[in-house]
């Protein structure tokens, strides 16, 4: 075989150019799209902060007054205090529930771990909104569980859900599973030899847990702790549903109210200032998280891992653990979701009326008959499919440019893709709403689901990137180099070599985006209008109008949609959605 005929004259220069294109144009376009998206979410809010009137007023003047007002407005000052108390209780509880469940599930011989494990993680796929509604239906002043307890114990008003503590408990239930998940993953990755070494030195179960397992989980604990603070500060649905009727306001609900000032003029300047404050706070949190976790390699097991992690025996205590865990799962998850399901098939639930007498299919019939409900479901499905598809394409493209190109701005693009993590959904929605008012061409999208689509692309960019980017890091760059050495340009390398290798991660990303979009509400609250309702926003407005039945039915539809998606994705395609 000789190498003399290296340049085959039959190849057209054109086909060679096409195959060999270095992709610079594509890389520039992808970067511009990413920049535009993030700018849409942030720029209008950042501009609005410095304006004394709504952005779109021609006579709006530069001002710093909005920042001054943040510190002088008595309502805001009170709200910051409430938010701090709420956050403290929520984080303490969700860490306790989350880490406790993780340790029991990952490290001990507690019975029933399979079923308890799946149930404990279920809220990952539930909207906090549904948990809030369920909490009121079950534990509200006229909730079914409340009434049953009153009946059995004879105590009137055994608890009051409509308090800061009540809100915090329910938010903690919604936030605990993500902590559990991170800690389980971390606990399972521990080197069994660490345990064995401690056992041989004479340590018992409790000592091993306290002195070896928990300290080794420290990076996961720090990660979860800070994420819990961020989630608590950002949360909107539960404070709105539970705190709203009794006028307990948090920063998020205040931004919401001030922007949609019922009856008065919306205070855009102050809302924007609060939004910026919130983003800055969450941004600083994630910065701290990064700094704290810089040395986390110290907690990574070194050397070969021998054998499987032994389950730590709890002895007779395993039954106590089992009972505690079962009680938690029953009261915090099954009762809440169950209340929603029950309510969707009845016109009332109360111990006073036998459940069969209250049975009705009207709530579900309404979903098909009432235009607004049907549209909400259809819009949600269309947005989930389109948003997940476009989002996955965008995320794949960004990850290829950020990690697998020589593009000058690639590092920067990588950072940009992680930015939406610090922007609460409410604020993404607010930004997109401002943009639609302010940017000339965008106003035609107002009141359509396309505006929502843009908001979702921004909002969930980081979540999808968080799946795709680590998966791409696992693919050796030798594959790219090999393609390059046989004559492939960037575009061909990416589409023919990397894209097929990323199939699994992209499928996971697609499913995760669908789930996130189906259960979203906070991004959409500022963007909903007749015609562009989604399940999340419809539930909120119906709830505020007192139509509990249709809300429950919509909630069931949302839960079924996400549960089916998760089941299909994980069982059929073996997709891993978290971790």
């Amino acid at each position: 075989m000789s190498a003399t005929d290296a340049l085959d004259p039959s190849i057209s220069a054109k086909s060679r150019r096409r195959l060999g294109s270095n992709g610079l144009t594509a890389q520039i376009v992808i970067t511009i799209i990413a920049v535009l998206l993030i700018a849409t979410a942030l720029a209008p809010t950042l501009l609005q902060v410095f304006m004394d009137k709504p952005l779109y007023y021609p006579e709006a003047q530069f001002t710093l007054n909005n920042f001054v007002r943040i510190f002088t407005d008595p309502e805001i000052r009170a709200t910051v205090g409430t938010t701090a108390v709420f956050t403290a209780i929520t984080v303490a509880l969700s860490m306790f529930f989350g880490v406790g469940a993780a340790v029991l599930l990952a490290r001990t011989d507690m019975p029933g771990k399979g079923i308890l494990g799946s149930l404990v993680l279920w809220p990952l796929y539930l909207s906090p909104q549904v948990i809030g509604f369920g909490a009121i239906i079950a534990y509200g002043p006229t909730g079914i569980v409340t009434l049953l307890v009153e009946r059995w114990t004879g105590i009137d008003d055994p608890w009051n859900l409509y308090t800061i503590t009540g809100m915090a408990v329910i938010t903690a239930i919604a936030n605990a599973p993500i902590t559990t998940l991170y800690c389980i993953v971390s606990a399972r990755q521990q080197d069994p030899n660490h345990d064995a070494a401690a056992r041989i030195t004479g340590a018992g179960t409790l000592q091993i847990l306290k002195r070896i397992s928990l300290p080794l989980m420290r990076p996961a604990l720090i990660f979860a702790f800070i994420m819990n603070i961020a989630h608590a500060v950002e949360t909107l649905a539960i404070p709105l549903i539970i705190g709203g009727p009794v006028n307990i306001d948090l920063l998020t609900t205040l931004i919401y109210k001030r922007s949609l000032q019922a009856g008065g003029t919306p205070d855009y300047g102050l809302s924007a200032a609060m939004a910026v404050m919130l983003v800055a706070f969450v941004g600083v949190l994630f910065l701290i998280q990064r700094l704290l976790l810089r040395k986390s390699f110290r907690f990574v097991g070194v050397g070969p891992k021998a054998g499987a992690l032994r389950k730590l025996p709890l002895g007779p205590w395993k039954w106590a653990a089992f009972l505690a865990m079962t009680a938690y799962v029953f009261f915090a998850i099954v009762a809440i979701v169950g209340a929603v399901f029950l309510r969707s098939g009845t016109f009332i639930i109360t111990p006073l009326v036998p459940i069969m007498d209250a049975f009705t299919t009207q709530n579900y019939i309404d979903l098909f008959v009432v235009d607004a409900y049907r549209r909400a479901i259809l819009n949600t499905i269309v947005l989930a499919i389109l948003g997940a598809a476009l989002g996955t394409i965008l995320i794949a493209a960004i990850s290829f440019v950020a990690q697998r190109s020589d593009f000058v701005l690639r590092r920067w693009l990588d950072g940009l893709a992680q930015m939406p993590r610090v922007i609460p959904g409410l604020i993404v929605g607010l930004g997109v709403f401002y943009a639609s008012v302010f940017v000339p061409g965008l106003s035609i999208l107002r009141n359509s689901i396309w505006l929502l689509l843009i908001a979702y692309l921004i909002r969930f960019l980081s979540a999808g990137y968080g799946i795709v980017s680590p998966a791409l890091l696992q693919v050796t760059t030798d594959f790219d180099k090999a393609a390059k050495s046989v004559g492939a340009g960037w575009t061909v390398t990416v589409t023919r070599v990397l894209l097929p290798l990323q199939k699994h991660a992209l499928l996971s990303c697609f499913v995760l985006l669908m789930i996130l979009i189906v259960k979203d509400y906070s991004t959409a609250v500022f963007l909903m209008a007749p015609g562009s309702e989604v399940i999340g926003t419809s539930m909120l407005s119906l709830w505020q109008q007192g139509f509990i039945g249709p809300v429950a039915a919509l909630a069931v539809v949302q839960v079924l949609l996400t549960t089916i998606l998760v089941a299909v994705a994980t069982r059929l395609f073996g997709v891993k959605l978290y971790g």
Binding site: M1, S2, A3, T4, D5, A6, L7, D8, S10, I11, S12, S15, R16, L19, G20, N22, T476, D478, F479, K481, A482, A483, K484, S485, V486, G487, A488, G489, V492, R496, V497, P500, L501
Partner: protein, 353 residues
């Protein structure tokens, strides 16, 4: 076929100098090896040749094209160089069958249809893998993957072949077989080949010429025999063939060679050092297999004591002590322990001033 000229190639990463003025010429059809420990700059050189990394300064010419020249600002990217690069990890695309791996390379070079199928069959036959065309990389053994990787780099008939430690992922026995096989394929195809390795036996057995590198510089260029027999400096002597290296004093010229003295007073004869006046300290090297153990105290023999031995089957590796000096000596397996002298054959001693 093409020759390769590398001129004054330099590559810095921040403050570290990975390549420092490397120049060499690979003749058309030659098998040239870049040999050195990790971090010596051999892989940086290969990446520069392949076009995967842009050097800091210098020039590279392949055939009659300049692919890199810092003065004119020329840099041809890897995808346009039409070289064959084989990776240590093989980098076979796991989602494509063996056939598709080769076909994709041909597609990028504009070869389609029957011409492509013929070329693939022919190349797979060359590496004895024709019957595995439909398998996926994950279904092949390490040795088979290595053959397919070579086939993929050769299927579009590149001007030169760059091999980055292609044998290091094979077990010892397979590696020896693959070495013979690789030499055979290279001879049959006559393709200019640049091979990177840290394994001196691979370098010596495969190459027409060897370049030994250290700290981003070339220590020596020569035929395998040259490099082994006449190392240019103590580093080459040590890296190629693991010589004994020690300090001695050059006493005086004597009968065409020179007389040397060890710190403890023992003396021996060797060739003249390149440029040292009598009384100068020199570094001396001698290979373990060149040191002779005898029973008799002939003239020039130094008394020694065997302090350790490891049995290697056909031979034993002994550690002997001559006064203060410890030396490794390769000797017949059944060498007894007592009453020993060592002799340094004059032509086996190398002295570096």
């Amino acid at each position: 076929m093409a020759d390769v000229i590398v001129e004054n190639l330099t590559r810095t990463f921040g403050k570290t100098m990975a390549l420092d003025g490397v120049s060499f010429h690979v003749r058309s059809g030659e098998f040239l090896t870049l040999l050195g420990p990790s971090g010596c700059g051999k892989s940086t050189t290969l990446n520069a040749l392949a076009g995967l990394d842009r050097p800091t300064s210098g020039a590279i010419r392949i055939g009659d094209t300049t692919v890199y020249d810092s003065l004119s600002g020329t840099f041809v990217d890897a995808q346009y160089r039409r070289l064959g690069l084989m990776f240590q990890s093989y980098a076979l695309w796991p989602h494509m069958s063996v056939f598709k791996n080769l076909d994709f390379a041909l597609e990028l070079n504009g070869i389609r249809g029957k011409a492509a199928r013929d070329r693939i069959r022919e190349t797979l036959e060359l590496v004895d893998m024709a019957e595995y065309a439909d398998r996926f990389p994950g279904e092949l053994s390490g040795g088979q993957q290595q053959r397919v990787a070579l086939a993929r780099t050769m299927v579009y008939r590149p001007k030169i072949l760059l091999l980055d430690e292609p044998l290091s992922n094979l077990d010892a026995k397979l590696r020896e077989k693959a070495r013979l096989w690789l030499a055979d394929i290279q001879r049959k195809s006559g393709i200019t080949t640049i091979f990177v390795t840290h394994d001196q036996s691979e370098a010596l057995s495969l190459s027409d010429r060897v370049i030994v590198m250290e700290n981003g510089r070339i220590s020596q260029i020569g035929t395998p025999r040259d490099v082994y027999m006449n190392p240019a400096n103590p580093f080459v002597a040590d890296f190629v063939g693991a010589s004994n290296i020690f300090e001695a004093e050059f006493v005086a010229p004597e009968s065409g060679g020179g007389r040397y003295r060890l710190p403890d007073g023992n003396q021996f004869l060797g060739p003249l050092p390149a440029q040292s006046a009598p009384g100068a300290q020199v570094t001396v090297s001698i290979r373990p297999e060149s040191v002779r153990l005898t029973d008799t105290a002939a003239s020039g023999a130094l008394p020694c004591e065997i302090v350790a031995r490891s049995y290697l089957g056909s031979t034993s590796l002994l550690v002997v002590k001559i006064g203060q000096l410890s030396l490794r000596v390769e000797a017949p397996a059944n060498t007894p322990d007592e009453g020993r002298y060592v002799e340094f054959p004059e032509d086996a001693v190398r002295a570096f001033g």
